[in-house]
Every structure is written in C-alpha cells, then in structure tokens.
Point group: C2
Amino acid sequence: MDMPANALHSMTRLRALLGEGYDLDMVRSLLQWDQATYMPDGGADARGRQLALIGRLTHERTTDPEIGRLLDVLEPQAAKLPHDSDDAALIRLTRRLYDRATRVPAAFVAEMLEHCSTTYQAWVTARPANDFATLRPMLERTVELSRRYADFFPGHASPADPLIDQSDHGMTVASIRPLFGALRANLVPLAAAITARPTPDDRILQHSAPAEDQLGFGLEVIRRFGYDFTRGRQDLTHHPFMTKFSLGDVRITTRTREHDLVDALFSTMHEAGHAMYEQGIRADFEGTPLANGTSSGVHESQSRTWENLVGRSRPFWEHFYPRFQQAFQVMAKVPLADFYRAINRVSRSLVRIESDEVTYNLHVMIRFDLEVELLEGRLAVKDLPEAWHARYQSDLGLRAPDDRDGVLQDVHWYSGPVGGAFQGYTLGNILGAQFFRAALRARPAIPQEIAAGRFDMLHGWLREQVYQHGSKFTPDELVRRVTGGPMSIEPYLDYLWEKYAPLYGLRADERAPVVVA
Amino acid sequence: MDMPANALHSMTRLRALLGEGYDLDMVRSLLQWDQATYMPDGGADARGRQLALIGRLTHERTTDPEIGRLLDVLEPQAAKLPHDSDDAALIRLTRRLYDRATRVPAAFVAEMLEHCSTTYQAWVTARPANDFATLRPMLERTVELSRRYADFFPGHASPADPLIDQSDHGMTVASIRPLFGALRANLVPLAAAITARPTPDDRILQHSAPAEDQLGFGLEVIRRFGYDFTRGRQDLTHHPFMTKFSLGDVRITTRTREHDLVDALFSTMHEAGHAMYEQGIRADFEGTPLANGTSSGVHESQSRTWENLVGRSRPFWEHFYPRFQQAFQVMAKVPLADFYRAINRVSRSLVRIESDEVTYNLHVMIRFDLEVELLEGRLAVKDLPEAWHARYQSDLGLRAPDDRDGVLQDVHWYSGPVGGAFQGYTLGNILGAQFFRAALRARPAIPQEIAAGRFDMLHGWLREQVYQHGSKFTPDELVRRVTGGPMSIEPYLDYLWEKYAPLYGLRADERAPVVVA
C-alpha cells in the first residue's frame, strides 16, 4: 500500500486485529462441524456454552473500538487508491462489517447464539417426532430476537432488510420482490406445462447401494471437478453443509440414503461447489474478511452450478454414465437417455432439497415470503404451520401430511435468525446461470471438455473471474465485472427452457414471455 | 459454602471466570484432536495460529488479576472450612494454578504453543524419514524454551522441577531419583533373570486382521469395562491419546497395525483407562479445575490398570479368549496358555510403547534421565541421538539402527516442552499396582468378577475412591486416602514377581530384596 508510515503501521495493526476475529470465527466453525458430525450426545450442553463463549469473544474482537480508530486513520488514505486496490477493498469491507457489528451489543449476540444452539438441539429430535409444539415457543423467541436484531438498524423499510443485507449485501425486500415476482410469472407456467406431460420414471434410481459405494463415486467426481482434498475432506452428517477452518481447510459433509443411488452424489457436488469457491480465494487474503465468499447468492450460484449446470447436464453424464453403471450394476441395462430424464424429473413435491431445478425456486419463495411476514408481524408463529400448508396448496398444489415435511423441514429457522436465510438460494440459481452463460461465451469448448470428463476450463474460468476475489467486490460489483451487466433472470430462464423444452417436448408457443421487472 | 454474602458473591464470580478458562482449554483440545485425527495437511499453518491464539486467551483468563483479588477475599473464608470441603479444595487448587500461571508471561505461552505446533507437524514427517537433522534446531529451541519456562520459577533445585510439578504436583528430580533408583535396582535383575529363560513365541500374534475387526473387538471390551459411549467416542490417529471437551465428551483415539492382532486392543484399553478416570469425575465439578485428573502419575495408573492389571491378566482372558478366537479364526487352535504367555512376553526391545511390563520402566527412566540432563545443560541436543543409543546399549543391551526408533520415537519432546513428560508413566505403574492392591483388599472377589467378564466391582471401587474426586486431592493426599500410606514401589514389585515368576519359572532366591529408598 502506497501510504505514509503511520498509515502502514495502522494497516499492519488492523490486519492483526482482523486476524484474531477471523481465527475465532474459524474456531467457532470447528465447534459446529464437530457438533454436526462426531460429537457424542453427552457433549451437547458444554458445546452450547463453548459456542456462546467463542461467539462473544469473536464479537468483542470484531467490535474492538481500536478497529474504528484505525479505520478513521486509514479511510482517507484508502480513498486515494484505485477502487479495485486490495487494501482499499479491505478497508471498505471492514468498515461495513465494523459498522454492522458495533450496532449489536455483545450480550445480545451471546443470547442469540445460545438460543440458536438450544433450538438446533431440540429440532434434531423434534423434526423426526413431528413435534412443532415443542419448538413453537423457541421459534417465537427466535422471531422476537430477529426483530430485535433488525431494531439495531433503524431506518430499514422491512425488519427483514438488515438480515437480508447480512447474507446478500445490497439486496432488500423491495429489490427482491419484483425479481422474484418476474421469476414466478415465468416459472409457474413452465412448471404447469411440464407437469402436464407424462412424468419420467425415476424408480430406476431407487435402489439400495452400500454407503461406501455411493460416497466413493461422489468423491471421485468432485476430485475431477477440482475439489482439493489436501485442503479439505468429507464427513457424514444429517444435514449436509460446507464449512471452513482456514483457506487451507475447507470441508464438506454429506449423508447417504438407503434407497437412492444419486441423492448423496448430488449433495456432494453441491457442497463441493461451495467449497471450491472458498478454496479458490487468493491465499494472501487469509486471515482477513476478504477470505470469504462475497454473498449467500454468489455462494449458492457455485453450488448450483456444479450440482445442476454441470452435474445434471447431458455432457457430464456422457462421460460418467458408463462408470456409474460399473459402480452400480443395477443400472447396467438402463439407457443413458432414461437415466438423464430421471435425474431431471420435474414434479411438484413437498421437500425443497429433493425438488428439481424448475420447482425449487417456488419452495424458496414460499419460505422467503413467510419469513418476511413473520418479521413484519403479519403472521404469528402459531399460525405458521397452517400458512405453510396453505402456500404449498396454492403454489404447488400439495399439502404435507404433517409438519415434519412442512414447517419443520429446513434447519434454517431452528439454527439461526428468521430472515435472510432463503433468498440466497434463488439468487444463486439466477446468478449461476448468468455466470455460466458468461463462461460459455468466453470459452465455448466447456461443454465438450465436460463431455470428456474434464473441468479445468470451467473451473479455471470461475477461479479467475469469481473465486479468487473472495469478498473483494460486492455481489453487484462482481456480477457487473463478470457478466458486463446487473443481475438478470434471463439467462436462468433461457437455460431452463433450453434444457427442459426438449426433455418434455414443450412447444415454443408455450413459453411465457420474459418480463424483467 | 457457609460464607458471608460478599464471599458467596465472590465465589460465584470466581466460578464464572474459571469456567471461561476451562472452556477455552476444552476448545484448544478440540483443535488438537482434529489436528491429530481428521485435519487435512493444508490446515496445518492456520491451526498452529489458532492454537496459539486460544492458548493466549486461555492464559489471559487463567491469569486474570481479578482471580487473584477473589482468591484474597475467599482464602480466609476457605480456611474455616474442613480440609476436604469441595469449596476449600477449589480455592486451594485455584491458588496453586493461578500462582503458577501468573509467573509465565502470555507472550511466552503463545511462543511456546506455536513452536510446539510447528515442531509437531515437522515430527510427523521427519520420524518416518529418520530425519533428526531437520528437527534438531527445533528441539534445541524447545530445550531453550523449557529452560526459560523453568526460569520463571526461581529457587528450583533443577530446571526440570517446575515442569515435573506441572504434571506430577509435589514431585521433584530429588524425590524421583531415589524412587527410580530403588525400582531399577529391582527391575534390572528381574529382567535379567527373565530374559535368561527361553522367550515365549509371540509370532502367534503376528497375523493380519481387518482393521474393523481389530477395532470392533476393542470397542466391545471397553464397553464392558464401563467406558461410556454416550459421553465419548473413538477415532483413528497416529499416536493414540485421550482428550476431553467436557465431562460429557471424553474421547479416545487408536490406530491399527497390519500384522498384529492385539496392538490396537491394548492401546484401546489403555486410552479407555484414562477416559474412564475423566468420565468418572463428579459432574458438579464441570467447568472448574477440579474436573481433571489430579496428576499425570495417577492418570497413568488408570490407563496401566485397565491395559495391564486387567487386560493382560489371566482372569480377563479366561472370559474373553473364546470370543477372541471367534473374532480371529487364526487363533482357533492356539491354547489360552500360549496366548497368555505371548501377550506377557518379556524382551529387551527398542520401542517404549511396544515394550512389556517389566522393561517398560527402563525405557521411561532413560528418557527421564536424558531430559533432566538436557535441561541441566549436561547434554547438548546435538549429542542426544548418541546419548540415547549409549543408554539403550547399557540399560537394555540394544542399539537402534536409526533415530526413528531412537530419539525420534516418542511424540513428547516434539509436541510440548522437554521435561516433566515421562516420569508419570513409571509413577503410574507404581500407583496402579498400589491402588489395585487396595481394591483387592476391599473387594477380594474382583478377580472372579473379571473372570466372568464383568468389571462393575473394580470400576465402581475406582470411581468411588479415585475417579470422582478429580483434582480435589493432591496426588499425595489421594494416595494416602486410598491406600492408607505414601506412594510405595512394593505393591508393584510384588505384582510383577507374582505374575512373572510362575510364567518364567523363576526361583524364589532369584528375587532381589526390595530396598525402599
């Protein structure tokens, strides 16, 4: 950094302080990873206490008034640097995070963390028991805590906005609504046209296979994708996730299902997508807030890219299907075309994480709308189970037989605040297609390469364009740099149409016009 | 606690402060456990940094001047309580730990932790490569750091004393030397008499078995011992250890060997012994320094009890040998007597952890003497490999072909300070036999119970007499309470003679007279 000596000194000091907050956050992630993978039941109480303690210490570090004083010294210097200077980006990001963190008292953070840890433990047993009654008072408190969180940010249009901003900086309820509205206007007729056609048979996927074979195939695939096992590993859990203990240790988790040959595989691809984003961040960002994916939406764009745009694509399976048939003998006589139709089967279903590319966003938008209503006080927690059923009825024409696959189905509301947790999934679908279109434009041979079982061209382009930058650019800046324009739903709708129209024999006149809000 | 209100308030505050130090220490243990079990190579640098940070924070907590002020308030109150009151014990222990911790600057602690983490990572690859040259400068720095540590405790007779006191409170080089001297005076002739007899054939144990079968048998045994899997688990590592993240989460690790049917089994019993001690501590001690084993020697007494006094005993195998033969078909035709002789084979060997009950202590005493010489400046690190070989030549009549099984063999000097790391093993052998004699006196049916595959009587007695108390009593207090007298080598020597004289056909006149120092 081209700065006077005292500013250089301040920069060094700032990096040291940020490094401690970063490492404490990584330690917290390890405590959570262990809780979700290996921890015996007897460890739960102490773990909640330890998470609360580390959470409090992290908050103390990230709100240290010395950071504020250093920023005051450094900002005038950073203003003289080019906008895309690393140091300028670090100062801007640190200011944003510091201002956000200092608004929230440490005691509140600890209260929230402890409450979430308790609620998560309760959810683990309450969901299989279909027991919303036990969780209801906890969820009421979560909503209340989430509102109190929002209150620390006066001036917001919706109490959901500060929570959305936390995961998808720059977005608000007001900016998401028209985007989701336009998307829904296209997806609803698309889903209707598809589900009016005969449903492909996916019973061919419903076979038992030893867990180690399922896992083995997935590990081989993500190794080929470029997931770096010297800087990561995979373990088993109930609800798969990616986590990071440093840029050199980015782990994924998965689970196997007994009567499903591909569920673990697609989950593995999904988490590997998240992990490759983190593994691709510039090593010199380590220990700073730049060493994180820039938003939940951009993160999800990468998990969905590797799971869907690559992993459910025809070129991918042209290469991998013979190996898959070898690994799972029961598939020996099933033609590739049938398999490809089965893994891309579109159907109205009750469970988000089992849903297909076309209806997935309908699940997400239901959750987004409900959490905004909860936060804005237009929906009470006691009425949530029924509101859930009503929305599934109206949007997907289905009603879950219980709360297990209703309001208890996702971990999010039971492990963190209510608000800001879901929009990223759909933003990710939109951005994934947008980035992928840019990649194909830059390197048109990508599909041929994938059909040869190689992914260097795509992975290299994504690393270069997206991954390496971590949080250096805001989501909006990144999208404009990579695609030349703002976020747009058009590439995603084009992608869906081009993939699913031939699969289901849709006619061109059945396509709804893309109305961009 | 029967105290005035302000003292009660101080006690509550003290417990809160101690709880944070305790939890940070548990978090540190998790970081280390992960490092030794699952962490990919790429995580090493950041892990060293994170361990140093948590170590520093722990040190800040345990040296918080507020603890000193609270102790000043509470000590006069505690003095009025009976000596064996829990609160009085907590105050005494906290004072000892606080005074010890406040002598050592935080920056030194961080330096030591980071150095040890780096050295450990280097040892992991240097040992198989027989590469002492790489480790030598690191070990030189470890010795220097260990001496600097001792310098924070002026007035010691040997720089090893403060390090010994840390793990075996109350012991010094001066008090250990005569004890070890008397032990050696008995063990050397015993080993000589035994190894003059024909060596039992232990090739019957050198067979391959699937890792899962080896692990399965060990897990079944320790479940029967009473190791509680709802408050623990076992994972794989290179160098087995026990660790704890709370009294509700006490884990063990092991490793399997390809051509050895019992190595993993005895290692599992050993670590389970450590773990059952910790699992047996009173739950209401959680979050305080009372919730730890009281010394390295007492800890080791329990691992050695379950591994040797139980696990290598005739009654144990009378019950378990038929199951062992079922699990490992290759043993089907081997009589119990031969198996029993094989697992109790005494031979001069090069590797401590593979050595037998009789020669084990000779290995330990070599290390103890060498580390004292290193610390007292009578031996340079550059001369250590040769000094090691010379001592093995003189004490065991053997010379390792390389440093891998010489000076590189144990992790201790490469993962912590030099000094205080080894005496506990031999103190443990001594104390294990002493406690076991007391147990047999109180409950003479223990051997019959073991021969029936049950361990409740022994486990219950040890929980009652030893485990539950954690660190409430000093090692010396505990030994006197449990056995009615001070530490004594007699029960151990009696145990060895009574077991090995019949096994090897030794005559009564071959026994050296027990000379207690």
